[in-house]
């Protein structure tokens, strides 16, 4: 995909806060990113780093209250999704933007058969009649590799295995030929051999359908295999963003660098001892006024305690939110 192509989805300065009994939680702080046609953007980060809330915010899926999407724009199809009426948003959701969530058992309705659940968006968004929708549903199940698709349309979710349920969820997300697919940890609950099946399926589908994909995971191995670009989140912010090979070969943010050193692999050198990132991930009780990674960072200095680093452009589509320049070993200019 050419770098100059206009983004299909463009998110700027997204900010989401939760009101809780013990005060505010600043879950998403000034997150900006864009998605180009046909590309796969990987989003990584520890649990609680704001990956899901970011995506739910832009789809308008968070209950308000407690959630409060305080700012930002989400441009899709010449519209700002944060500023459209409920009906327009519903039409986009499950229509031109498909989504898949982590746990396929809670996302599928146990009381309806799988056929009904695939047909629903087809009838709602594409105006198909029952017969057309049934034919398309069968096609979709075949597309995601479920054998004996026609018969299985009548089956209920509990009659499918975890991997097959996740395939069904993907079929539903793909039902209306979306331009954008948002997948939130779609393989985290699955075994590796089943995950491998889903990842292969995803590669096939992208080649066939050419949609743009946002793939959220905490598994850097998965990202390495499927992403074009990667966005690393920490404390509700984007701390680094780069083309996938650059992120792995030349990570710049201290968190990304530490994370890559922490994970053991099944190939390559086996470290006698794992590198550890000491301490815990932060709980964002306030809007960040200092670097969120400060307490765990081994190169932190004075400035990190009094200012929140912006994303510094490092060239070639790479940026990192850090006052320290890992290339020179010096603080960046003030």
């Amino acid at each position: 995909m050419p770098d100059g192509a206009l983004p299909v989805l463009d998110v700027q300065n997204l900010k989401t806060v939760f009101q809780t009994r013990s005060g505010e939680v600043h879950a998403v702080n000034d997150v900006s990113f864009s998605l180009r046609p046909g590309e796969l953007l990987g989003v990584v980060g520890e649990s609680g780093s704001g990956k899901s809330v970011t995506m739910m915010s832009l789809l308008g899926l968070l209950p308000t209250p407690p959630a409060d999407v305080r700012g930002g724009t989400v441009m899709f199809d010449d519209k700002d999704l944060l500023n459209v009426n409920a009906k327009t948003l519903r039409d986009v959701r499950g229509g031109k933007i498909g989504f898949v969530f982590q746990d396929p058992m809670t996302s599928l309705n146990p009381v309806y058969n799988v056929g009904m659940q695939i047909m629903e968006p087809l009838r709602k968004h594409m105006g198909m009649n029952k017969k057309q929708a049934a034919a398309r549903a069968q096609e979709l199940l075949e597309l995601v590799g479920i054998p004996d698709a026609k018969r299985r349309l009548a089956d209920y979710p509990h009659q499918f295995s975890g991997g097959m349920r996740q395939r069904v969820m993907i079929a539903i997300a793909l039902a209306c030929d979306p331009q954008v697919l948002i997948a939130d940890e779609p393989t985290t609950a699955l075994d590796v051999t089943i995950q491998a099946q889903i990842l292969e399926l995803m590669k096939d589908l992208r080649a066939k359908l050419g949609m743009a994909v946002i793939w959220i995971t905490h598994d850097l191995g998965v990202i390495a295999g499927i992403a074009d670009r990667v966005m690393v989140m920490y404390g509700g912010q984007v701390v680094e963003h780069a083309p996938v090979d650059v992120l792995f070969s030349d990570p710049q943010h201290p968190y990304t660098r530490a994370l890559l050193k922490t994970i053991p692999t099944i190939t390559g050198e086996r470290a006698a001892r794992l590198t550890v990132i000491e301490g815990q991930p932060p709980i964002m009780k306030d809007a960040p006024a200092s670097c969120a990674f400060r307490d765990r960072c081994d190169v932190a200095f004075n400035r990190c305690a009094v200012e929140n680093p912006p994303r510094y452009d490092l060239g070639a589509g790479h940026d990192a939110a850090c006052f320290y320049d890992a290339r020179t070993g010096e603080p960046r200019d003030a």
């Binding site: 075994d191 590796v192 051999t193 491998a196 295999g225 994370l259 922490t262 099944i266």
Partner: protein
């Protein structure tokens, strides 16, 4: 016998754990789940034996059965010279201190109404005659050992993070100076950056107290890091057992090959070039395993004999065990 050179602390032979399936109004027994169906292995003193495999293959059941948290269907279990396979639960009580378990979900395995001190002290109350003062001191030492601040002794588990809760579980498991600890997915519920902290702790404690671990996990990368030897389970059976380096460098069993090839590599150049073995279909139900080899419904190398005859588990090379017909021709010399 299986391991000749080193002394096994734990020795398991042909262990079976079948759970009955009841159905209908009269709850009649209609079948059984063969969760663990004839496994044999040794755990050498001081080593970490990794036990890997996909969800539902029987790892946890195996770990719990070895500690006799179940009354097993059949088999022999020797721990530190004592045969405990058919020992009564009452008689097991005196042996319990030597063998402990650390669980996956640090949240669910800690009583929310007990303070950290009470949780760690409980096994001391049950199994020792120490004075209250001695017990408190011991709890303090244990908290030091697992890296928990002693000042937190009076807090409740909810006040701790996942990684800290796992430290509480580990401190409790250590209270009675065990020799053997079954760690059942101790890091699965933790974040990547916290996983490394807990794994390093387990390694330190092993060295400090001379512990022997059975480390259950579905994370093959982490097992490569922590284990001395690795056993691979599929549908209630061990299909391969080998020293760590050999297993990862040159897996023998077709299932091990597929499993390793499915692990995503965090290196974009490798990941994109890989010719991954993608297994078709799902794991069959342990209530109704296939005839012949358990893996025959998904095996890329399946042969006719595999669908009729179960392969035997044998030592195919010194220290390497597998159960697969592909390796049975050179069986004659191996045993």
């Amino acid at each position: 016998m299986l391991d000749t050179e080193n002394t096994p602390l734990v020795s398991v032979r042909d262990l079976k754990m079948h759970f009955p399936i009841h159905a209908g109004l009269l709850r009649r027994r209609v079948g059984e789940v063969k969760a663990v169906d004839g496994v044999s292995f040794d755990v050498i003193e001081g080593e970490t034996l990794g036990l890997v495999g996909e969800s539902g293959c029987g790892k946890s059941t195996c770990g719990r059965a070895v500690l006799r948290l179940y009354d097993i269907t059949s088999g022999e279990i020797t721990i530190d010279g004592d045969e405990i396979g058919d020992t009564s639960q009452a008689a097991l009580r005196t042996k319990r201190p030597a063998m402990q378990m650390v669980f996956q979900d640090p949240q669910a395995s800690l009583n929310p109404r007990m303070t950290v001190e009470a949780i760690i002290k409980e096994p001391l109350d049950e199994h020792t005659k120490l004075s209250e003062l001695e017990k408190r001191e011991k709890v303090g030492e244990l908290m030091d050992a697992v890296g928990l601040n002693r000042q937190f002794a009076k807090r409740y588990p909810q006040a701790f993070s996942g990684g800290q809760r796992q430290r509480i579980g580990i401190a409790r498991a250590l209270a009675l100076n065990p020799k053997f600890i079954v760690c059942d997915e101790p890091i699965a519920a933790l974040d990547v950056s916290i996983q490394a902290q807990v794994v390093n702790l387990l390694e330190d404690l092993q060295e400090q107290f001379g512990l022997t671990y059975l480390f259950i996990s579905h994370d093959l990368s982490m097992v490569r890091h922590i284990a001395t030897r690795v056993a691979v389970m599929y549908l209630g059976k061990i299909v391969e057992l080998a020293p760590r380096e050999a297993l990862y460098a040159e897996p023998l069993h077709p299932y091990t090959k597929a499993l390793l090839s499915a692990v995503p590599d965090p290196d974009p150049s490798l990941a994109k070039a890989s010719n991954r073995i993608v297994l078709q279909g799902d794991v069959p139900s342990p209530a109704n395993p296939p005839k012949g080899c358990n893996f025959c419904t998904r095996c890329p190398s399946v042969m006719d004999i595999c669908k009729t005859t179960e392969p035997t588990y044998f030592e195919v090379q010194p220290g390497r065990f597998t159960a697969c017909h592909l390796y049975e021709n050179n069986n004659d010399t191996a045993e």
